[in-house]
């Protein structure tokens, strides 16, 4: 059931240990979000496994700068060519962060919902991970369905533009049909200047339309591209100004953990965003 936008003042806590990162539309920032939120959660002390399910088009490995370490992948696990532990790639920077890469050579027919569920169960119960973040492929077909099969929570990534919002709505409907109850929205690539002059949907518009709880607002930020160029998730670069994508991803991780993190002013305190702090749990 969709809740009214902003119906709860704070508490965007995600209890689900297995969380799918999805969007419907491609190119809105699923993989970047998975890498950054995964890294930030791990930095907070959780044992995190990020799993790429975009079989045939894997990218989470390069975004995280771990492409050189991939030996076995998710499909090797599914088809019994290796043990789960052999497919777990430890991150270079945060030792509680691990990646399972998607296969680049197989196609989506190699996916299986039952095997996905078993793999996630094993990660949580046998390997002792606190959290599994599942990077879903674009679309609503088997790739997405497999990614969602093992999840109990979802981060829906949306850009404030027409096709992304429409696709997000569709995805939210499909997640609800799967009885995934903890659905949280990340508004990515928000451009405060465009919002201010009325040429981009505001956060409250998107929430009003989609009717799910907000867990993050990530401003458009060139540093995201720069950091993926070198394979180093931006969320791991501490410091810098407050209203940046890196700190937005770190805030999302803290909110997943149940912390009540205020939304920073993306606008220098003038207008559009100041109301948000009150509305969505800010202080």
């Amino acid at each position: 059931m969709r809740e009214a936008a902003g119906s709860e003042e704070a508490g965007t806590l995600v209890n689900a240990k297995a969380i799918v990162v999805t969007s419907g539309k491609g190119g809105v920032g699923k993989t970047t979000t998975t890498a950054n939120v995964g890294a930030a959660l791990a930095k907070l002390g959780e044992r995190v496994a990020v799993v790429d399910t975009d079989v045939g088009l894997r990218n989470l490995d390069v975004v995280m700068g771990l492409e050189g370490r991939v030996v076995f992948d998710l499909i090797d696990v599914f088809e019994g060519r290796c043990k789960l532990r052999q497919a777990l790639i430890r991150d270079k920077r945060v030792e509680t962060l691990h990646l399972i890469a998607a296969s680049q050579t197989k196609d989506k027919s190699a996916l299986s919902e039952a095997r996905m569920r078993e793999t996630v169960r094993a990660l949580l119960e046998d390997e002792g991970f606190d959290r599994v973040l599942i990077d879903s492929p674009a679309g609503i077909e088997s790739g997405f369905q497999t990614a969602a099969a093992a999840a109990h929570g979802a981060l829906v990534v949306v850009n404030p533009e027409v096709s992304s919002v429409r696709d997000a709505d569709r995805i939210i409907g499909l997640l609800e049909a799967r009885e995934i109850t903890e659905v949280r929205l990340i508004i990515n690539r928000l451009r405060p200047k465009m919002v201010k002059r009325g040429d981009m949907l505001e956060v409250s518009d998107v929430l009003d339309i989609l009717g799910v709880k907000l867990i993050g607002i990530v401003p458009e930020d060139e540093r995201v591209l720069v950091s993926t160029n070198v394979g180093n998730p931006l969320a791991l670069e501490d410091g810098g100004p407050k209203a940046t994508a890196g700190s937005a991803f770190r805030d999302i991780a803290r909110r997943i953990g149940g912390e009540d993190v205020a939304y920073p002013d993306l606008d220098g305190g003038k207008g559009v965003f100041s109301g948000l702090r009150r509305l969505f749990g800010g202080r």
């Binding site: 969709r2 027409v162 009325g198 040429d199 505001e202 339309i209």
Partner: protein, 79 residues
């Protein structure tokens, strides 16, 4: 006082368009089918209330988490 010169904010158009298209998406009905439904409803209504069906307004509304099909037909009362 700048209202006259201010162009329409494009995000207002977008929000309206999105709300409309999503109401059809959520109801799994295409806008064209909706027109067809409207014509057929009109035909049925006219059968029982001759020449009364001109103002038929059919639309979807979001009521909480449900989509509701609203057919609004103001009838003139001849007493």
């Amino acid at each position: 006082m700048f209202g006259f010169f201010r162009r329409r904010r494009s995000k207002d158009d977008l929000k309206q368009r999105l709300k409309l298209v999503l109401s059809y998406d959520r109801a799994r009905l295409s806008p064209g089918k909706m027109e067809q439904l409207k014509r057929e409803l009109l035909g049925v209504v006219e059968k029982y209330f001759p020449s009364d069906g001109d103002d038929l307004n059919v639309r979807f509304e979001q009521h909480g988490d449900r989509m509701v099909l609203i057919a609004d037909l103001p009838r003139s009362s001849h007493r």
